[in-house]
């Protein structure tokens, strides 16, 4: 019975590793400049975790195979040096691995979060609210109007609480339900939550960043392929969470300029 169990554990471990090793469920093609580093990092994590997982399962199977038939009165065998050194070795092994992943991964992380955005980056404000994303562009004057929560009136399409009557900078602000960006140009996304926690996730962009109420965060990215991609909320935000999505439209510079012009005219 013990040997059967050992073989079963080994087979399950090997079978479950096959789809990952063969990359059956890989992510969609990356469309960002920083995505390759994220993919490398994920790959590395998967390899390290995968090898550790397989090793642990196979050692478990081996131990079961070896010692399952032990009689009630057989003498217990200890790991050489006792459990203490085994635990210390495990701590060192896992700790080094996690540290190494962190140090290597910092590069991928820093390109999105710590490095300053380019000077000619397109600045867009993304606002998440139950249960839709809205995006704001500063318009021809290059300045965002000041949002005023008391002016938010969604039924009148004033999702950001702009006050065009008194705030001149807000008069030309462009508000859209889609995120249009030019291809091969950096986009600096200022993230603001209107109510609760949300998340901005575009698989192809390799970006997943939470919106935190009361904390305005920024991420920057450069999309390298035109097309339409889905933006989904990946932070459970309430009843309509399942339906909270928008689209990222990566356009050529000319199409983007035209899009801005059309939106301005509306």
């Amino acid at each position: 019975m013990g040997k059967f169990f050992a073989v079963t554990v080994a087979i399950i471990a090997i079978l479950s590793a096959i789809p990952i090793v063969m990359n059956y469920w890989g992510p969609p093609a990356d469309i960002s400049t920083h995505g390759a580093a994220i993919d490398d990092q994920l790959h590395e994590t998967m390899w390290e975790a995968g090898v550790s997982f397989l090793a642990a399962q196979l050692v478990l199977a081996l131990f079961v195979w070896q010692f399952a038939g032990r009689g009630r009165n057989d003498k217990l065998k200890n790991f050489p040096g006792g459990a203490k050194w085994l635990v210390i070795a495990a701590f060192l092994f896992v700790g080094t691995e996690i540290l190494a992943l962190g140090v290597i991964g910092q590069k991928a992380w820093a390109t999105v979060y710590f490095a300053a955005p380019d000077k000619d980056a397109v600045t867009v404000q993304a606002q998440a609210g139950q249960f839709a994303f809205y995006f704001r562009y500063p318009g021809p004057d290059g300045k965002f109007g000041t949002p005023r929560p008391d002016k938010i009136d969604e039924g009148n399409q004033n999702f950001f609480g702009l006050d065009p009557e008194n705030d001149v900078a807000s008069r030309d602000d462009i508000v859209a339900g889609e995120l249009a960006v030019p291809v091969n140009r950096q986009v600096n996304l200022l993230m603001h939550s209107k109510d609760v926690g949300h998340s901005f996730y575009v698989r192809e962009l390799r970006i997943q960043q939470d919106f935190v109420p009361g904390l305005d965060l920024a991420v920057h990215f450069t999309a390298t392929k035109t097309g339409q991609y889905e933006i989904v909320c990946t932070q459970l935000c309430g009843l309509g969470h399942y339906n909270m999505k928008a689209y990222l439209n990566v356009l050529s510079q000319e199409d983007f300029d035209k899009w801005l012009k059309d939106k301005s005219a509306q």
């Binding site: 609210g129 139950q130 249960f131 839709a132 994303f133 969604e154 039924g155 009148n156 399409q157 999702f159 065009p164 009557e165 859209a176 339900g177 889609e178 009843l239 309509g240 339906n243 909270m244 999505k245 928008a246 689209y247 509306q266």
Partner: protein, 233 residues
């Protein structure tokens, strides 16, 4: 045995005579100035709704017609009507279609049955923001039975959908049956008003209310016009 036909005759006479001397208040609602431009609604996140509109629909807060006509203004008898407690037996219907509310402004009598229908292929969460009446919000998946409710106090209630932020409508709960909502030409008509003194109120969701006093002496039509000052923003 003879009292029944006599009573019926008297009742018929009474109804006929009141109709014979029934007056009408009619007029037009207009605006001055430049109203704010209604922006197109981006329904991109709800493709099943977006595809129902060949061209993007615009907000309906301010809907205008030719010659400065103002639509969606509720004009009603706010005092003086003799039949204030009569609740119509027929329900009023509020439809969610193409991720819009139809009609945008729905008038009902207090305690009149209100039926809310979802004709879309998506779930809505209807949320009338009542302050005087009891506030509630209810989810309505596609293909489910209408939500039936009623309001027992007069109130103007903004309605929103908790799933689709752009959706916006208004409930006007009145204690009278003498009302009209101005349409394309801004016209309204309040017929069947027996002789008496009335206060007529015109309400617009963004421009506020206006009132006018009018006296009906017999079988006549009185002209009452309302002019609202438009807001540029």
């Amino acid at each position: 045995m003879r009292t029944k036909p006599i009573l019926l005759t008297l009742l018929t006479l009474l109804v006929c005579s009141s109709l014979m001397f029934a007056g009408t208040v009619s007029g037009k609602v207009t605006y001055t100035g430049t109203p704010a431009k209604q922006k197109p609604i981006d329904m991109g996140k709800e493709p099943s709704c977006a595809k129902q509109h060949a061209t993007p629909v615009t907000g309906e807060t301010v809907v205008t017609g030719p010659d400065n006509a103002l639509e969606n203004v509720v004009v009603y008898v706010s005092s003086g009507a003799p039949d204030d407690g009569q609740v119509p037996s027929q329900a009023v219907t509020f439809e969610q279609k193409g991720c819009q509310y139809i009609p945008h402004v729905l008038v009902m009598h207090t305690n009149q049955e209100l039926k809310i229908v979802n004709s879309d292929q998506t779930s809505h969460n209807i949320h009338p923001l009542a302050k005087v009446n009891r506030e509630w919000n209810k989810s309505q998946p596609p293909g489910t039975a209408p939500i039936v409710d009623k309001y027992d106090k007069p109130e103007f209630i903004s309605v929103k959908c908790n799933v689709h932020p752009w959706m916006h409508g208004e409930f006007a709960v009145l204690s009278t049956n003498h009302y009209d909502v101005s349409k394309g030409g801004g016209d309204f008509k309040l017929p069947n008003l027996p002789p008496g003194k009335y206060t007529i109120t015109a309400w617009h969701e963004d421009y506020g209310t206006q009132t006018a006093d009018v006296t009906i002496t017999g079988n006549e039509t009185k002209d009452v016009n309302f002019t609202f000052k438009a807001k540029a923003y």
